[in-house]
Amino acid sequence: MKFRPFKRSLYLLALTIVTILSVSSRAAEITVFAAASLTDSLKEIAADYEKSSGDKITFNFGASSTLARQIDAGAPADIFFSADESQMDGLAKKDLIDPATRKSRLGNSLVVVVAADSTLQINSAGDLTNATVKQIALADPKAVPAGVYAKAWLTRQQLWPAIEPKVVPTENVRAALAAVESGNVEAGVVYKTDAGISKKVKVAYEVPAKDAPDISYPMAVVKESKQPDAAKNFLNYLDSQEAGDIFKKFGFILRD
Amino acid sequence: MSLLLKNISLPLADFTLEVNVEMRKRVTAVFGPSGAGKTSLLDLIAGLRSARSAFIQLDGNVLTDTAKHISIATRQRGLGYVPQDLALFPHLSVRQNLLYGTNSRAAASPLFTFEHVVEVLEIEPLTSRGVTELSGGEKQRVALARALLSSPRLLLLDEPLASLDAPLKEKIIPYLARVRDEFRIPMLCVTHDRFEALALADEIVVLVDGKVRQTGPVLDVFNRPASAEVAKFVGVETLHPGQITNVTEGLATVSVNRATLTALAPPIVSREVFVSIRGEDVILQREAAVASSVRNRLSARVVALRTEGALVRVELDAGFPLFALVTRPACVELALREGEQVTALIKTPAIHLVPH
């Protein structure tokens, strides 16, 4: 009868669909919420990982404070890679991250940058109080790690009250970098790693390690993650030597 | 005054306004049916509109000359304009409206004082009011006063009586006459009402479909229309000056040359009037002494006959030129011929008196 071949092709079709589905379900898609300063390094690391594992990594880069707030509000993150411990602590207190997976992976240093064609000389923190420096871009010192670190540094130098009126707070550290690149501010305080990726700025002053606060980048798997195993796999990869080499290439300090 | 309009060519919706005329008399009426381009002509003279080609000269001063690309700005033309919708400024008081034109070029030597104009037009009690509180006739007078107070060389009036009802028209005409006589300003009136033209103008320009069909003294044009087209528009067969000799109980006795007529007394009586009688209101009969209600029975001699379609236009001498329109069969029946004596009957209400 007519139906027999029809029934057979239907059966084959169903089989094909199930096979395709199961194959694709084996490849996980995980979302990583990471500090803006990690943008370039993480993208390169993720590209390598995707090739070898078959998993797909999606990123949400931004100010760690903003990302923490989003995770708190239920955003679908699998991994959180913050630029300071304080933001990770905040989530840990609310039991939003898996403490067993938490690890402080990276360090960084602060630099004062000026536009590549600028003639401004900054030889010490005190030079930032000069009248020639009218405006300084910082990631918002109220909560964004890069700005918090910068404020801590300047407070310790007892220069914060003199510098605060000049501060232009930006949404994240890359926005501070962009402000300096555009020439609309005379100087900015960003991570050394950020200065490294931009050709439109140059480092005017490196904050010596003894003056700078301790910069630490912790990473962890988010408790509500729908792909905890795939997330743990990627986290382990971030902890690996291959990833470490890439981080070092971009100028990060490895903490162990 | 001398207003010269030469080579005017202005395309309008249905036709092109083409005018070549010189106006010399103090009061000229531009007379024609609605939509003949009369308002556009006034706008051209005032400089509110430009034409494809125009040459306008007032008293020797060139206002517009398209050939030489000359066009004097409106505010320097020294013309007073009373538009058909009066255009009183609604956000200003009557007094402010009146004084609006007084602080420009004319301020140095105004032609007439505020008090004089207000007195002549009888608008004293209105000055502190708002414009929206005025009646139609009051608005008319205020608009007129406002134009006068700007000391114009020429007054342009667009259908000054058109928006008023009949009794009001009769009341405003004397004010316009006063303006003409007291202030002696040249006036150019646009109208489609023949009585307005009659009452005010010395000279008339007939404008139909944008072209000038006839110019001349008012009576001449009305009595001797140059063409059937003008005649159709002018529409009055008999028009003749007369004098009111007596008014009793609402009836006026009018002396027209050697004849005497009884007519309804006009609301404002003046001695000199125009007597206007439509041809269709004149009844001709052979017998004289038949009792009827008609008050006006004139003995008349037939001067000429002219056939116009189904009617015959009969020119009579009744002591003054009188025209009657009768049907052709009636003409045949009465055996009307040149030189025949007949009696002309005209009902009292059919005689229209226009104060002059």
Binding site: A63, S65, T66, R69, K134, Q135, D140, K142, A143, V167, V168, P169, T170, E171, A179, S182, G183, N184, V185 | A46, L48, A73, T74, R75, R77, L79, G80, Y81, P83, D85, A87, F89, P90, H91, Y100, G101, S104, R105, A106, R146, A147, S150
Partner: protein, 222 residues
């Protein structure tokens, strides 16, 4: 409400008011030209004037950032010749508010001008008034209600401006932080109470401005 919060409200209010005054001469001139004159390319001008209404505010802000930055066409000139900086100062806030609220003023004023009977202006000219006198004594008073309604609408829009402002002025507390910028930052930092207080003020201000605007723009009932 702390004094810092009141400072934000006060700053927002006076910069918005100033922006409305700043756009008034140009806005009225433009509205008048659109209402009374015709010229080739008029429709292009109309479209440009309406763009800030339709484009994403941040896109408009980006254009302003490029133009008025120290390396930009206009900003460079101001910086080099007059040592005047726009970006990241209160002047940038004024700029953003002005550009974003201009279309509203122009549209309302244009309608108001179109409703003035041109005959009145013509007669005023026959009475000897020059163009400026006609404009200020006849056109503007008669278009008054519409113009004021438009100004209030522009003011209300300026009060709530965000996208373009954050692009060109940043959110510098005490210097360029408007109510909307402050609310955004508060939410980012997790300071919801602060945000709600400012939200309340924002609603009250906007309500009052728009309500008054409607009073003026509503046609007078005959």
């Amino acid at each position: 409400m702390t004094s810092a919060e009141w400072q934000i409200v006060w700053f927002t209010a006076w910069v918005s008011a100033l922006s409305t005054l700043v756009i008034l001469p140009f806005g009225l001139a433009l509205a008048w030209a659109l209402a009374r004159r015709d010229w080739p390319g008029k429709s292009i001008v109309e479209t440009f004037v309406s763009l800030p209404l339709v484009m994403p505010p941040v896109a408009t802000g980006l254009i302003l950032l490029k133009l008025f930055g120290r390396r930009g066409g206009i900003g460079g000139l101001l910086h080099d010749k007059f040592n005047l900086d726009v970006i990241f100062t209160w002047r940038a806030v004024l700029l953003a508010l002005s550009v974003m609220s201009l279309p509203l003023l122009v549209r309302a004023a244009r309608v108001a001008f179109e409703e003035v009977n041109p005959r009145l202006e013509q007669i005023a000219r026959t009475l000897g008034a020059g163009n400026w006198r006609v404009f200020f004594t006849i056109t503007v008073p008669l278009a008054g209600r519409g113009i004021i309604g438009g100004m209030l609408l522009a003011f209300a829009r300026a009060l709530g401006e965000f996208g373009a402002t954050i692009m060109v002025a940043g959110s510098i507390p005490g210097k360029t932080q408007t109510i909307s910028l402050a609310i955004f930052q508060d939410v980012q930092l997790g300071d919801d109470t602060h945000a709600y207080r400012l939200l309340g003020v924002s609603v009250v201000l906007a309500f009052a401005a728009v309500w008054c605007s409607e009073l003026f723009l509503r046609r007078r009932k005959k």
